[in-house]
């Protein structure tokens, strides 16, 4: 999306030590044109930058609480710290980057966009993923990609127990060890198309130094849900 430079360069500062999260979010919702916003003193507060629907550029300087950048649409949100539960949950589009680690359910039910976690993500990362891409530089906890339907989860470290349990059509790429696969999740061949997709995801996540050929691919065995090849176009 083309954004005028003049607007992009003007940075609005919001200090959450003196302003409420509600004030910040209302401002992000009301501003019709993309703006650059720098948020200071988040102090683990919940729902920071949730529900944005404009291509704002938001930088948060510190650790945030639950549901940061939830339902994000178009915006680019960067957290210079760790995240609590449910960062970028139900994201529709845009980019959310976490420079630290993320707690449980990172990217849960996200439909589009890109979530990047440079540290670890804990349990249930990308649970019920519906089309977004999630790239984790570190490891993910147990039950990650549970019932994930579309999109991809890239894990440069290790995956915990029950990876991809009851998986639908999401693609899972793991470079390190997998503590255990969930029901109906199996290892699949890494074909050229997958390597290409993986390289592109790593590049977009600013992890071009990570070698795509070191990953293994996991997907659904398609025995748990009623998959019929003639319905492929609907998935």
């Amino acid at each position: 999306m083309a954004v005028p430079d003049a607007t992009r360069d003007a940075v609005v500062s919001v200090d959450l030590a003196s302003e409420s999260v509600r004030t910040l979010n209302q401002r992000l919702h009301d501003e019709p044109e993309p703006v650059r916003v720098r948020v200071t003193n988040p102090a683990g507060k919940h729902s920071i930058a949730a529900g944005i629907a404009v291509a704002h550029d938001v930088e948060i300087d510190g650790h945030v609480g639950y549901y940061c950048a939830g339902m994000n649409k178009l915006a680019s949100v960067r957290v210079r710290g760790n995240c609590g539960v449910g960062v970028a949950e139900n994201m529709m589009s845009g980019t959310v980057v976490v420079e630290g680690s993320a707690s449980q359910s990172a990217g849960a039910t996200a439909r589009g966009g890109l979530l990047v976690v440079h540290g670890d993500a804990s349990a249930r990362c990308a649970i019920s993923l519906k089309g977004a891409d999630v790239v984790v530089r570190g490891s993910v906890g147990h039950m990650s990609a549970f019932m994930a339907q579309r999109g991809s989860l890239v894990v440069c470290g290790n995956a915990g127990e029950a990876l991809g349990d009851s998986l639908y059509e999401a693609r899972l790429y793991v470079r390190g060890s997998v503590a255990g696969l969930g029901a109906d999740c199996i290892e699949k061949d890494m074909r050229e198309e997958h390597l290409e997709q993986l390289r592109e995801l790593l590049r977009r996540a600013d992890m071009g130094d990570v070698e795509a050929s070191e990953f293994r691919r996991y997907g659904s065995a398609r025995t748990l849900y009623n998959f019929h090849v003639e319905n492929l176009g609907s998935y």
């Binding site: 102090a43 683990g44 507060k45 919940h46 510190g62 650790h63 609480g65 639950y66 760790n82 609590g84 539960v85 630290g100 680690s101 707690s103 449980q104 804990s122 349990a123 906890g141 147990h142």
Partner: protein, 302 residues
């Protein structure tokens, strides 16, 4: 939903402000547990051969001085009461078990909050902010403390159903979660001689740890036993005279975050309760892994 906060100090400056810090942490967690609050402080150990007892009374104006005089009369000696809101603490020149037995017989109206050498428990039904003010927590120093804000799911909202629970000397437990096999476990533990004051599920977890420790387990071993014997959801923080330990159940639905600096180690249900501590921004911060025991200051497994 409940809130847990724990702070283990590594410097005299943080020790002096332990109560102020734990108070701020509890205020941050009040929305997770608006119906009751409590704290166990570990501080000012009783001299060898003596014990420290904390009691709660529901009377409007309990005569703590009279209780202290009786204790001094019955046992070799007893301190005058240190009164804090509805609670009072006594140091008695006797074994804790003897004092407990005597109190149960002669003052059944008084609730035993804790017994041991350094533990003091304060807890009350009502909003956490009010609790923090009424008990003037900011005045209290100590080596470590565990606090709790409660949103009741399994049993009634009363002072005795509030956390921390103490079922053994210098031992306490705070819990976020719910246990489903607590009735059977309580029956079994009663048979083993463990005493319970309520029908609360979390008190059973405290009783279970007391039993395992009595049977010779280390705190780490006792906590690992929870993974086998307790059915339900939990993030536990457990205090002993020397430090505290943390355990999350293997499913780990209940949140926890830990942080450490050169001056303190903290556990909280949410990071916002750690963000209020000095130097939190630069602390090493992490989410405790499910099914793994973390401990500070307690004796390591041999």
């Amino acid at each position: 939903m409940c809130g847990i906060a724990g702070l283990y100090t590594k410097s005299p400056a943080v020790q002096a402000r332990l109560g102020a810090h734990i108070a701020t942490m509890l205020e941050q967690l009040s929305f997770r547990g608006p119906d009751s609050a409590g704290v166990a402080f570990y501080r000012d150990p009783a001299p060898a051969g003596s014990c420290k007892i904390s009691l709660n009374s529901s009377a409007a104006e309990p005569d703590w001085t009279a209780v202290g005089a009786e204790l001094a009369d019955v046992f070799a000696d007893a301190s005058s009461p240190r009164v804090r809101a509805s609670h009072a603490t006594f140091v008695v020149d006797a074994e804790a078990e003897q004092v407990q037995a005597w109190l149960a017989e002669h003052h059944p109206e008084l609730r035993l909050m804790s017994a041991g050498s350094s533990i003091e428990i304060y807890k009350e039904a009502g909003p956490p902010e009010e609790f923090v003010r009424r008990f003037a927590l900011e005045e209290i120093d100590g080596s470590h403390a565990l606090g709790h804000t409660r949103m009741a799911t399994e049993s009634r909202v009363t002072t005795e159903h509030s956390h921390p629970f103490s079922t053994g000397l210098d031992l306490c437990l705070v819990h976020n979660g719910s246990l489903s096999n607590h009735n059977r476990l309580r029956r079994n533990l009663r048979r083993e001689g463990i005493r319970f004051q309520t029908d609360n599920d979390s008190e059973v977890a405290a009783g279970y740890l007391t039993w395992r420790l009595r049977e010779g387990a280390s705190l780490e071993q006792a906590l690992e036993g929870c993974l086998e014997d307790l059915d339900g959801f939990y993030t536990f923080a457990v205090g002993t005279a020397d430090g505290f330990a943390v355990l999350r159940d293997p499913i780990a639905c209940k949140p926890a975050v830990m942080a450490e600096t050169d001056e303190w180690v903290a556990i909280a249900s949410e990071y916002r309760a750690i963000a209020v501590l000095p130097g939190a921004r630069d602390a090493t911060t992490w989410e405790p892994e499910p099914g793994r025991v973390y401990s500070w200051g307690t004796t390591p497994v041999a």
